[in-house]
């Protein structure tokens, strides 16, 4: 079997009615498990012959959980936001050719239907699904399905030729690392390949520590074989016989799928000794990280695999020269590896046709926060932010105004709304102070305070830095404490200078990239939203009503009916009053938890920016403590 190339695919088409249920952690969290159970029950009670297949997530998180029905002679139809109790209704309608409650058709749209085809939808047609194309379509736990859609063809090609040719192809494709810094992949591989010795390692980085990014998880859960294929190609190219996939323990499903994929690949002869008869031996191990953001740093990740504290070490020497157990090691983001696998299968020409002059191909972005359609989307590099946020993600929810977008996680920065024409490529984003990072995008609207966002990121880096180098450890803490002061209304103008000075030191003197970029969230918010900082410092106000110390709860006497529901619900008994009259909030007791606001049936309780006198309930302009 191995000699004639790829194993044959057994296509199971005994049943002509198929239901696909996405089983990824995002959809499971949204209730896919319950939907699956319900489908099984309904199918049984209706006496249908249905093949229910679990698939991955296609990134349209706003319709989670969705299901896809396809029956011979019927169009393939996607239903969104499915709950267990409407499953039966959906199936009945589908069989009656009534598609009115469907979200979209994947294929075979009937001419008379008002439901759009998926390809016509803004959210879909503006994407270029180069590596994520099979996510949500194939069963991630079935290697046969991956092979059926052309999987492991790239590997086969690579095994048949010299590693130099693979590097040459990557060079032509000009793939840049998708982990954040955008270092050309072929250069990294070439350095490692040139190193003497025959013990080398490859590591797939699926740590994904950026809060707000989940494309690695999505790929690993929906199309794990693509990552493995990329990893095996990497191993073959540099001459390594062992590889690791570094997955965070907080993402157990991703780890499980990758382990299953490795097992299947081993059984089919894609891993292990003498891969596909080429004589090349390679095996991988899925390493479950115990979780630490700093593991995203290459040298820290190596330390973690060695079972030590994940402290980065000074580079050079780079891991490509001296890495895991002192041997040459390459570490690639799983997204980069998925790109490698796709490029090898599809050819560099197609890849290079996408993207911009300097950065080719596509990039996945995870859009969350204040947009209508949250999810993971893949677009060409160089796509303007506006197109992604408005055309694909649908712009802000009703009544909200997008203020900025936070790009690249704790190392990235905020880009204000008036710069949304900026194309998203490595260099343009860098010039704006942000980074592409892993591609997390958190959209912020007028209910988000930019100072608070900066404070949040610094609290993250303060806790997540390794604590080894003095500048990283103390600098993050200094900036965090300063921002905390400002959000508490205790800041001074001098603090702005202090922030700038500390970030300057950190950018120049930190040991690792985490520290050097930790001040980016501050610098960009200072650059684009200085007015908010000034409002916090000078006027002691937080217009977004986020910073608790600068917000007061008051009861509107006109709306209040004196029902005392608020007083009853207050966990700290800070509200007192008599039935029938407007109660009073005791500001010294109030911790601003918002319980009263949620509980008031008349909407009489509001948050107001600014501080008030102890005695007063209502805000008086200019009256400060």
């Amino acid at each position: 079997m191995r000699n004639d190339g790829l194993p044959k695919v057994i296509v199971n088409d005994k049943k002509d009615f198929k239901i696909k249920v996405p089983m990824a952690s995002c959809t499971i969290a949204a209730g896919a498990n319950e939907v699956l159970l319900s489908i099984n029950a309904v199918v049984e009670s209706m006496g249908l012959h249905v093949e229910v297949t679990p698939v991955g997530c296609m990134g349209l998180d706003f319709i989670d959980p969705w299901i896809e029905l396809s029956k011979k002679g019927y169009p393939s139809t996607i239903y969104g936001n499915v709950t267990p109790d409407i499953v039966e209704q959906i199936i009945r309608e589908y069989l009656d050719r009534d598609y009115s409650s469907a979200y979209a058709f994947r294929s075979g749209k009937p001419n008379d239907s008002t439901v759009p085809a998926l390809d016509e939808l803004d959210v879909w047609k503006n994407q270029v699904r180069w590596i994520s194309g099979k996510c949500g379509i194939i069963n991630p736990e079935s290697i046969d399905e991956y092979i059926a859609v052309g999987g492991y063809q790239g590997l086969k090609k690579c095994l048949e030729r010299a590693p130099e040719e693979t590097i040459e192809e990557l060079k032509k494709a000009n793939l840049r690392g998708r982990g954040g810094a955008g270092f050309p992949t072929w250069i990294k591989w070439n350095i490692c390949k040139e190193q003497p010795g025959n013990v080398k390692y490859v590591i797939a980085n699926c740590d994904e520590g950026d809060p707000g990014a989940f494309m690695n998880r999505l790929l690993a859960e929906s199309d794990p074989h693509r990552i493995l294929e990329g990893l095996i190609i990497a191993g073959h190219t540099i001459g390594a016989n062992r590889g690791f996939v570094f997955v965070r323990a907080e993402k157990p499903l991703a780890a499980k799928r990758l382990m299953k994929a490795a097992e299947d690949a081993r059984a089919k002869g894609f891993l292990g000794g003498n891969i596909l008869g080429s004589g090349y031996c390679f095996d991988i191990e899925v390493f479950l990280s115990a979780g630490a953001f700093v593991c995203g740093e290459e040298t820290a990740m190596i330390a973690a695999i060695q079972g030590e504290r994940a402290n980065p070490i000074q580079r050079p020497p780079f891991p490509a020269v001296k890495g895991l157990w002192g041997m040459p090691t390459i570490i690639n983001n799983v997204e980069s590896l998925a790109h490698v696998a796709t490029i090898m299968a599809e050819g560099w020409e197609k890849f290079a046709a996408l993207g911009t002059e300097k950065s080719k191909g596509t990039k996945m972005y995870c859009v969350t926060g204040a947009v209508q359609r949250t999810g993971a989307y893949e677009v060409q590099i160089g796509t303007p932010i506006k197109k992604l946020l408005y055309d694909i993600a649908g712009g802000p929810p009703e009544g909200k105004v997008i203020k900025a977008v936070q790009l690249g996680g704790p190392s990235g920065g905020c880009v204000p709304a008036d710069m949304f024409d900026l194309p998203m490529d490595y260099d343009s984003l860098q010039s704006a102070g942000a980074i592409m990072g892993s591609g997390g995008m958190v959209v912020l609207d007028n209910t988000n305070c930019m100072v608070d966002m900066a404070r949040f990121f610094l609290s993250f880096t303060t806790a997540e830095s390794c604590g080894k180098c003095s500048v990283g450890r103390i600098g993050t803490r200094l900036m965090y404490e300063t921002l905390k002061r400002i959000t508490k209304g205790e800041g001074t103008i001098d603090d702005i200078e202090l922030l700038k000075e500390t970030s300057d030191v950190m950018q120049k003197a930190c040991l690792c990239a985490l520290g050097r970029t930790a001040s980016n969230p501050i610098l960009t918010t200072l650059r684009y939203f200085e007015n908010e900082y000034m409002a916090h410092i000078k006027e002691k106000k937080c217009e977004a009503l986020v910073c608790k110390s600068l917000v007061t709860y008051c009861i509107d006497q006109e709306k209040c009916k004196g029902c005392l529901v608020c007083a009853k619900n207050c966990p700290l008994q800070a509200i007192s009053g008599e039935k029938g009259s407007t109660p009073v909030i005791d500001i010294s007791k109030c911790v601003k938890c918002g319980t009263c606001l949620d509980s008031c049936p008349f909407g009489a309780i509001t948050k107001v920016s600014g501080r008030v006198c102890e005695k007063s309930v209502k805000v008086e302009e200019g009256c400060r403590q």
Binding site: A292, Q314, T462, E464, G467, T476, R477, Y480, V505, C510
Partner: protein, 401 residues
Amino acid sequence: MIISVRSLSYDELKRNLSRDDKIVLWSCDTCVKHCGIAGMDKMTALEDMLKEDGYTVIKKELISESCQVNLAKKHKAAQEDLFNEATAIITLTCELGYQCVRNVFPKIKVIGTAKTFGSGNFSNKKGPILTSPLPNTGLELNPEGYSLKNLVETFDLQQGFFDFDKVPNPEKITITVDGKPLNVKKDANLLDELLANRMKIPHLCYDSSLGAIGACRMCLVKIEGKRGLVPSCCTQIEEGMVVTTEDEEIEKLRKSILQMIVAECGEEIQQSRDIRFWLRRYKITENRFKLSKQEEAVDDSDEVLIRDPNRCILCGRCVSACAKLSGQKVINFANRGSNTVTITGLNDNFANTDCAHCLACAHYCPTNAITPKAISKKISGYPFWTLITYPKKMTRSTRAG
């Protein structure tokens, strides 16, 4: 301290070696260092000489106290593969250390280099002196002591370290430092060479005996062709390097970093010699940075060592010293980020750990966060024991002497 004198000439040493020997140099970091015939610098000199003569040195092993068998065993266990490969160990230790090494490595050829005469003192005026000679010397107990020179002459031994026989001549290359050419050893550590050329570079975490850590970020320099600033302690010298050790930007950074360290540790840290020196040199009187500080309990449970976490700047020297020099790994970092601390054992008191009291941590601590204990009690007057911690380092003062 134990007094030893070198008993072997370089030629005799070479006669004991064969060309294909894989040599490990093994040196003690205590008494015999003060006798001037051991220590990291001496090992480096010997390594250079041996390499020049075509021998293979595979490792330099510094041990904090060579007369403790358990430490030697730990060193062996930590690098099993290396010692399996080794065929000869040259011990720059006293005869006790030689005994220990023979004990732990029964299958490897061990070459001793010193003769031990007995116990003695370290005198401020005369340096190491022998006061209580062993019987085979034929000498008598003498509080005034016999100087090393005396012993060398009487017993026809070798004066000083090997470099008196033959000055090693390692390959030198020229680099440019602050616009001037400088002759330095090829492939050496940049900070080592800068310091050897009497340049003042602040450094808190680096010591050539411990190797580079790269944590304090004080020794940053600019190197042409390299992005940003690089810590000189982690940089290997390359041909044609152009280094800037001091300019406005570097000084500003160093000042800021120093202030940050002081802000984190509190004002008390300014009493430490190194910190005080650089604060004065950079004329820092006021600290721009302020951080809240929580006092932590001083651990004085141990009989020999006191650990004051409030003075710890987390440079990692003690962690390195305990791991590399003693091999015990009693001290380590715990937690992450701004909560990082140094701990002993499973966050136990010092007294409840396996500490072998080799004092390596205390010798290398730049801020006296770990110090040897000295207690004195006035029976009349003060009813309490008072603890005195040493303001200076034993190693430094003795080195000066």
